[in-house]
Every structure is written in structure tokens, then in C-alpha cells.
């Protein structure tokens, strides 16, 4: 029923579509910008991954074999910043660009030129950040958390770091504004808020988090900048300042930031699991409210990153209780996903495989998170590899797995072609097995007493470090399959018949042809289509 109008729009599109480099540099089309975001994210994923490979290689044996300890610290710092701001966040913005207009029945994003700007800031931001490796002194080596006074000790790279952070922040805020305006104003008639797909919902909430906290980060790093260059003493104890205040401000940004990276993942999982269970999502409204509660709670738990800085006992109690509360809405989500699979008719195509792995492995990250919330126990876990294991379970097998699942889920829609299913399953199994070989032993290392961010360790930690490194190399190598699979699919994949790539798929994006026309919904979808997509 969508066929006839699509043919006419496809014809009209042809006239408006710019060609050659102009199509990309002057891009205002949500799909082109989404594609650029995803490619940029993939490039940064491999740059950040290369840093991780050097880290794991140095940690393969006790003693120093490859790099200077200062360089090692720069690598961990840049690995963190690149993966968070360069790989995970742009991937989500790319997916938002691609999918939100398709899913809400809009022709494009609301603010296309802003969209162009928010993408094209990123290459500059990351060139600046990576260029810190080549300036006198050293690249930033104070950790991605940039705690002063340590971070104030770095030379020429310091202002470059601050400026890069500012640019990333501006890009994120512009992207978030665009998402909110699009969702609020561009929904097709009949697409009420509680009919929106969960990916749209989670992104709407994420966008509010971004707008709330990116300026806080910008403020924190600007205060550090003035401490460094203009003689202020915000964080300088010798001048009456307070180094702990930076941590409070940073984590007031940093904790919501964690949810910025994971909420869209919840959205994606809530799309994939119903599709391959051939069953509507269980408890749609509960999912929406749980997402909103998690977002709210994310603002009142920040000091759980700081239990060893010497907070008053009452503050430690408050942050312990508020942190534990997060387990309730997160639990509701996991139970809803489990209930969606219950009595379903499950099949295990690559997106579903990644979603199921997400359920198990993200939950493991949740369990260690619950343990970390208990302040007395945190005294032992804090600053060790236990924490490293925890947040990599949440961010790699959580956020990154959800991104990969999303790519495998929507790639046939984007390209109109199906990818090599067997190869994608190889990618999945290698990733899932080796990510556990990589990160699970880090729980042991941390509990046994190995501090994080160290280039060298006592010899009794050798065994599990070697296992972890082997897992790391294998996991890193298997990721090369992802761009190859995508490239092969786009070039020579088998064409997808019809609008739906997956038999159980629901939602407006599956009512458009594959690939969708250049301008998505030039005519709003009918109420009937919307209702059919929103059966939950």
C-alpha cells in the first residue's frame, strides 16, 4: 500500500540529491548524516581499539616491554575518551539520525543544517584529541576522568584536550536538540507519544540527559582551564580550592553520561527481542517509565564513584541507597525482556544473538554494579580491575553489543541488501566468547588486589592477565569482521524482497521500501499503518 507513493517520491528525490563530495560535506539528509556518524564511530572504535591492543600487549607480562609508563597512561586516557565520545556516542547519534525519522513518520530531522554542523564538528574534535600524541610534553595521561591536580600537570596537550572536550560537548548538545525537536514536532499525525517505538523513547530521554549534563562537563573543564592559565584556584588546594569539587562536578556529568550510552541500547534491545520472539514487547509502558526513572536516578547517584575520597558517612549512606535503587527499574527492564521471550517463537538471527548476549552479559555488569554500590565492599573494589571489568561488561557487552545488534537489525533496511548471515554469526560467536575471556578474569584480578591504570604488576597477577590479553587480541581481531560484513553487504548482498527484512518486524521503518527513499516520509503514514506498527 505504500508502494505507489514511494515510486513518485523516489523520482522527485533524484532531482534534489546532491552528488559527489557535496553530498557528504553539505549533507542535510538524515540518512547521509547518520551514515557518516556510523562510519566515523567505526573508525574511532578501531583507533580506540588499537590503543587497547597496546595496553593489553604491555600487560601480557610483568615488567615493561613495549612502552614508557607515561605513554601507557596516555593510552588508557585516550582509549577511554575515544571509545566514549568517539565510538559509542556517535554510533547512537548515527542510529538516531537514521531511525528516528523513519520510525515516527517524518521526512527528515527537524534541523538538517544543525545536523550537518553537529557531525562535522567531530572530525575536528578528534583530530585535536589524537594530535595531543604529537605535541611536546605528553598526551593527556590523567585518565578519561581528568582529575586535577594531576591533569593540570600536562603541558601543551592540556588546552587541546579541553578544547576537544568542548567541541564534543557542543556536537552532542546540537545533536540532542535536534532529536528533541524532531520527536516533539515531526511525529506523523496519530503517532502519539505512547505509540512511539522504544528506541525513540529512550533517545528522547537520552537527549534530555545530554542537554542537562554536557554543559556541566564543559563548566568543569573550563574551570580547570582557568586554573591552568588564568591563575584561578577552583581545584588548587594551595590557593584555597578544592580538588574534590572537580570530582563532584565531573561525576554529576559522568553518571548521567553512563546512561546516555546505555539507554538507547535499552531501546534497541526492546526492538530486536520482540521481532525475533514474534511477540509484542511485554510491558511497554513499564519500559517507558523505567527508562524515565533510571534517567532521574542518574542525577542523584554521582558520588558512588567517590566513596574513598572521605565523604561524611551520611553522604555515603545516601549515595549507597540511591545507587541500589537503580537496580529496581533496571530489573523491571530485564524481566520485561525475559517475559517478551517467554512463550514466544524464537529464532536466532545475528541481531537476536547480540540482543540475547546483551541480556546475559549486561546483567553480569549489573550484578557487579550492585556489589559496587555497597560502600564497605566498594572500599576494596574501588580503583581496581574489578571496576574495569564492571564497566566493560556494561559498555562493551552492553552498549557496543547493542550497537552491533542494531546494525545487523537495520542494515538490510538501510542498504536494501542482506548481509552474509553465516559470517555475521561468526562475528557474534567470536565476539561473545572472547569478550568474556577478556573481561571476566579482570574481576579476579581486581578482587585479588590489582589496581587499575597500572602498566606493570606483581608477578602473581600474570596468569589471569595473560588470559585477559589473549581474549583481548582475539576480540579485537574479530571486530575486523564487522566492517567487512557491512562492506560486502552494501556491495554485493542479496537484495531484500519487500519492505520487511525480518518476518516478525513491526514499526513504521518496515513499511517503507528497502532502502527507503532519500526523503523518508514525504507523505505522513496513515493512521492504520501507525497503529499496525505500534501493536504493543
Amino acid at each position: 500500500m505504500a508502494e505507489p507513493h514511494v515510486e513518485t517520491t523516489a523520482h522527485a528525490d533524484h532531482e534534489h540529491m546532491p552528488h559527489g563530495w557535496r553530498r557528504w560535506v553539505f549533507a542535510t539528509n538524515h540518512k547521509d548524516i547518520g551514515t557518516m556518524y556510523l562510519i566515523a564511530s567505526c573508525v574511532m572504535f578501531f583507533i580506540g581499539g588499537a590503543a587497547a591492543m597496546v595496553i593489553r600487549a604491555e600487560l601480557f607480562k610483568p615488567g615493561m616491554q613495549l612502552v614508557d609508563p607515561g605513554v601507557f597512561n596516555s593510552l588508557t586516557t585516550l582509549h577511554g575518551l575515544i571509545m566514549i565520545f568517539g565510538a559509542i556516542m556517535p554510533a547512537w547519534v548515527g542510529l538516531a539520525n537514521w531511525m528516528i525519522p523513519l520510525q515516527i513518520g517524518a521526512p527528515d530531522m527537524a534541523l538538517p543544517r544543525l545536523n550537518n554542523l553537529s557531525f562535522w564538528i567531530l572530525p575536528f574534535a578528534f583530530s585535536l584529541l589524537i594530535a595531543t600524541f604529537f605535541v611536546p610534553g605528553s598526551a593527556p595521561a590523567g585518565g578519561w576522568t581528568m582529575y586535577p591536580p594531576l591533569t593540570l600537570q600536562f603541558g601543551d596537550s592540556f588546552p587541546m584536550l579541553i578544547f576537544a572536550i568542548h567541541l564534543m560537548g557542543i556536537s552532542s548538545i546540537l545533536g540532542a536538540i535536534n532529536v528533541i525537536v524532531t520527536i516533539m514536532n515531526m511525529r506523523a499525525p496519530g503517532m502519539t507519544l505512547l505509540r512511539m517505538p522504544l528506541f525513540v523513547w529512550t533517545w528522547l530521554i537520552t537527549a534530555f540527559l545530554l542537554i542537562a549534563v554536557m554543559p556541566v562537563l564543559a563548566g568543569a573543564v573550563t574551570m580547570m582551564l582557568t586554573d591552568h592559565f588564568f591563575g584561578t584556584s577552583f581545584f588548587n588546594a594551595a590557593g584555597g580550592g578544592d580538588p574534590v569539587m572537580f570530582q563532584h562536578i565531573f561525576w554529576f556529568f559522568g553518571h548521567p553520561e553512563v546512561y546516555i550510552m546505555i539507554l538507547p541500547a535499552f531501546g534497541v534491545i526492546s526492538e530486536i527481542i520482540p521481532t525475533f520472539s514474534r511477540k509484542p514487547l511485554f510491558g511497554y509502558e513499564a519500559m517507558v517509565y523505567a527508562t524515565a526513572s533510571i534517567a532521574f536516578l542518574s542525577f542523584i547517584v554521582w558520588a558512588h564513584h567517590m566513596f574513598t575520597v572521605g565523604l561524611p558517612v551520611s553522604a555515603q549512606l545516601f549515595f549507597m541507597f540511591s545507587t541500589m535503587l537503580i537496580a529496581v527499574p533496571t530489573g523491571v527492564k530485564v524481566f520485561n525482556w525475559a517475559a517478551t521471550m517467554w512463550k514466544g517463537s524464537l529464532s536466532f538471527e545475528p541481531p537476536m544473538l547480540f540482543a540475547v548476549a546483551f541480556l546475559f552479559l549486561f546483567s553480569i555488569g549489573g550484578f557487579s554494579g550492585l556489589m559496587l554500590a555497597l560502600v564497605p565492599a566498594d572500599y576494596q573494589y574501588h580503583g581496581t580491575y574489578f571496576v574495569v571489568a564492571h564497566f566493560h561488561y556494561v559498555l562493551v557487552t552492553g552498549a557496543a553489543f547493542a550497537i552491533m545488534g542494531a546494525v545487523y537489525y537495520w542494515l538490510p533496511k538501510w542498504s536494501g541488501r542482506m548481509y552474509d548471515m553465516a559470517l555475521a554469526k561468526w562475528h557474534f560467536w567470536l565476539s561473545t566468547i572472547f569478550v568474556n575471556v577478556l573481561f571476566f578474569p579482570q574481576h579476579f584480578l581486581g578482587l585479588a588486589g590489582m589496581p587499575r591504570r597500572t602498566p606493570d604488576y606483581a608477578v602473581q597477577f600474570t596468569d589471569w592477565n595473560q588470559v585477559s590479553s589473549i581474549g583481548g587480541f582475539a576480540f579485537g581481531l574479530s571486530q575486523l569482521l564487522l566492517p567487512y560484513i557491512v562492506w560486502k553487504c552494501v556491495r554485493s548482498g542479496k537484495r531484500v524482497e519487500g519492505n520487511k527484512a525480518w518476518e516478525g518486524a513491526h514499526g513504521l521503518e518496515w513499511e517503507l521500501p528497502s532502502p527507503p527513499p532519500f526523503h523518508s516520509w514525504t507523505v505522513p503514514p496513515s493512521e492504520a499503518l501507525i497503529a499496525r506498527g505500534a501493536e504493543h
Partner: protein, 296 residues
């Protein structure tokens, strides 16, 4: 497809076997190091108990939740002819139950955690006060009320071996990275309060066996206290746990816990030495922080 999965399994097993075979050279095996030490203080034992309680609660939840999911994965798959029950979209009663049960479990964990937290943060009635000052990269220890004060830095042999391409096998260095020139000496069975601070960047003083980790922050004096079990004298080792620059990995903490009698003897001897100005004169000059004022 099936063959692909078998292939992956084979590759994985081969790599794991390789990993298992490789580190056979070490004197003591690290494979058994998978849990937090129970430790030797009142603090560490309570933390260990809480940690194990939380661990088993998580295991219990995992068994139930993963069990349900695995059941679906096995029995509700289309290849077994499962037909989806598309009417199952919402059930208020079930949803209330699975919101309430986690709340109850959380309360059961929060209560003991809060109790232990309050108990181990009681720093009153300490019998011995020691000032611990972090610097890039080492620790200064000052016994409050005595002239005894010294600097504790990475042991010489570790320091030699840890250089890039030193040619020294870390395995040949006893307690590689976990030895110092002058360890902290404390009496067992005595409540000890540490006053922790820093002169440059943030450090963190950690001894896993004591269950004590406290950040050393310039401009702040943090308190933390513990009592080593009377029957557990010995040498206890830890490390700095807050990234503090290039040599963060090379400022270990080593503590000798000795009987109170031995401790008084040691302290007297140190005081005498300090008075004579021998041995410790260099360190007595108190920590002069390396100049850390950033230069543009």
C-alpha cells in the same frame, strides 16, 4: 551453520589451552587468586563477609533470571515448533511482584551494608595515630607525638627491574613491585588511626588485607582506622590505587605488623636514631614535594 559453530568452539578451546599452558614458569600459581582476601583486621573481615553475601545474592538472582531466559531460549524456539502467544503483553500483578521482590532483596542487602559502614567509620579512641602523606611517588609516614618520621619508596631491586627493557626478569625479584625501602611498622591488637593527605596530586593508600583504602588529597586530611588481629603479625602489601602520574604503579604500601612489645622497642630505637641524626637525616627533612606547579 552447525559446522561454523563447531569451528568457533575448536578455535576457542585451542586458544584457551594455549593460554593455560603458557604461564607455567611461575614459582607460585596465580590461578587460585580469584577472590578478595579475608584479611587480618576487624574491618577487612566485615567487608569480606558483606562481599560474599552480595556475591551469593547475585548468584541466586542470576540462577533464577538466567534460568527463565534459558528455558525460553531452549523450549520457546520456532525450530521446535513454538507458537508465539501474542496476547501476553501486560500483567499488572506480575509486574508489581517483580518490582516488589527486588526492593525486598535490596533492603536485605542495604541494612547490613549500612551497619558495617557506620561501624568501620568509627575513628574514635585510636591508640596510635600515624600521618600518611602521599607524594609523586612514595609515602611519608609520621608517628604522631614522636619524632619518628620516614619516607617509604619502591624497593631497589624492583626499581631496577621495572625499567623498560631492564633485562631483569620480574620473576627473579622477590615481591616484585610490592617491596619498599622503609616499611610502615604497626603494632597488632592496637587501634590505629591513619591521617591521610597528599602534597601534590591525589593518591590512594590501600592494603587489601586490612580492608583499608583512603584517598590522599592535597588540602584534605582523611581519617581511617583499623586494628590488626593480635594473632596475625606479618608483612602486608598494597599499592597506590588512584592514578597519580607516570610512576603510579611504583609506589607500593608495605606494612609490618608486629607485637606491641616489638613495636615499642622498634619505636624507641627509631627515636634514638632520629635524635642522633643518623640514618634518617635525609628523610627527616620531611617531604619536599617535587615542584608540581604546572608550567604552561
Amino acid at each position: 551453520m552447525h559446522r561454523a559453530r563447531l569451528g568457533i568452539l575448536g578455535v576457542t578451546l585451542a586458544l584457551l589451552a594455549a593460554a593455560a599452558g603458557m604461564p607455567a614458569a611461575h614459582a607460585e600459581s596465580g590461578w587460585s587468586l580469584i577472590n578478595m582476601p579475608r584479611g587480618v583486621t576487624n574491618v577487612s573481615r566485615q567487608i569480606y563477609g558483606l562481599h560474599m553475601m552480595a556475591f551469593w545474592v547475585c548468584v541466586g538472582i542470576a540462577v533464577v533470571v538466567f534460568g527463565v531466559m534459558i528455558w525460553s531460549l531452549v523450549f520457546h524456539r520456532r525450530s521446535r515448533g513454538a507458537v508465539a502467544d501474542v496476547t501476553m503483553v501486560h500483567n499488572t500483578k506480575v509486574e508489581i511482584i517483580w518490582t516488589a521482590i527486588p526492593v525486598i532483596i535490596l533492603v536485605c542487602m542495604a541494612v547490613p551494608a549500612a551497619r558495617i559502614l557506620v561501624r568501620i567509620n568509627n575513628n574514635s579512641h585510636a591508640q596510635l595515630n600515624i600521618r600518611v602523606t602521599g607524594f609523586q611517588w612514595g609515602w611519608q609516614y609520621q608517628y604522631v607525638g614522636t619524632p619518628v618520621s620516614f619516607i617509604s619508596k619502591l624497593g631497589y631491586r624492583s626499581d631496577q627491574a621495572r625499567e623498560l627493557d631492564s633485562g631483569i626478569n620480574p620473576d627473579s625479584v622477590p615481591h616484585y613491585l610490592l617491596t619498599v625501602d622503609h616499611p610502615l611498622v604497626v603494632p597488632t591488637g592496637t587501634k590505629i588511626r591513619l591521617l591521610v593527605t597528599s602534597v601534590d596530586v591525589i593518591h590512594s593508600w590501600w592494603v587489601p588485607d586490612f580492608g583499608v583504602k583512603k584517598d590522599a588529597i592535597p588540602g584534605f586530611i582523611n581519617e581511617v582506622s583499623f586494628t590488626v588481629d593480635p594473632n596475625k603479625p606479618g608483612t602486608y602489601r598494597g599499592q597506590c590505587t588512584e592514578l597519580c602520574g607516570r610512576d603510579h604503579a611504583y609506589m607500593p604500601v608495605v606494612v609490618h605488623a608486629v607485637s606491641p612489645a616489638e613495636f615499642s622497642a622498634w619505636l624507641k630505637q627509631q627515636e634514638a636514631q632520629q635524635k642522633q641524626g643518623v640514618n634518617l637525616s635525609a628523610q627527616q627533612a620531611s617531604v619536599q614535594p617535587p615542584v608540581t606547579q604546572p608550567t604552561g
